[in-house]
Assembly symmetry: C2
Homo-oligomer: 152 residues x 2
């Protein structure tokens, strides 16, 4: 693990520690690095993901999903958190952002997609840990199709 | 506002205060009561809703959405929070649940649907305030259809 990913620096504010965690995930996603993409996840994290099923429990489910997702792309993944806002208190924190991915699938389809991301954190000892994430796109009420092409 | 909805009782724990807020929303949704359904919402709440657009800012957008939603049903709305978990600390809290609605639309369609709900709170003075909500269903990767019939 890179030294800058450590969340123990006592001189850092909680908000800055969480921002570095989230920046680290983005960097790891761009590098298709699964370990880095789940750094700080609780073993029993509850995830509401973009795609079925309704919910997943455990970091292994997140890892399997990332494996599938990373392997679906040919070439680089361009990934950024937009409008990231972090609210951190004494031992509890949450963040929300609009996540933007641009990449080309192995079938040659160009993906340029935003989704909504919420992450919820607890500080266990000196480390911020993610206990819940929620990622989604809304759907179109008329067609019931997921809205994969909305821009902020 | 009903007296039991007050969140100022100093003998109540933070978790209990938030649970009462969430129980109050469920009760208000069943009663198609818009004021009660947004009780405790921050004026500038950021909502990621089930349906388009990608995001909304402000409680007025939540009210308009509830008006549309309530008026789409003929007769009662049966609504419950399942698997509600609240994590509350000193001034910051979050919750997640699977929300279940059963109702009949004015077109005669029977709705029996679960969605994922995350709510994020800040305590301002003695009152817990909702500053962010995220509600969604996942989509099916093959069809890109929103999954409106998943059960936990």
């Amino acid at each position: 693990m890179d030294a800058p990913r450590s969340t123990t620096a006592s001189t850092e504010t909680d908000g800055a520690q969480i921002r570095r965690l989230i920046d680290g995930w983005a960097k790891s996603i761009r590098a298709k690095d699964i370990d880095g993409s789940v750094f700080g996840y609780a073993p029993d994290v509850l995830t509401f993901d973009l795609v079925n099923p309704l919910q997943n429990v455990g970091v292994d489910a997140v890892r399997r999903r990332l494996e599938d997702w990373f392997s679906s792309f040919d070439g680089p993944i361009d990934f950024e958190n937009h409008d990231l806002k972090i609210t951190a208190g004494d031992g509890i924190a949450f963040s929300h952002s609009l996540n933007h991915v641009r990449a080309t699938t192995k079938q040659g389809q160009e993906i340029d997609m935003f989704w909504r991301a919420t992450a919820c954190f607890r500080k266990l000892g000196e480390h911020w840990t993610v206990t819940h994430t929620h990622a989604s796109v809304p759907f179109d009420m008329e067609s019931s199709q997921a809205s994969l092409d909305l821009k902020p």
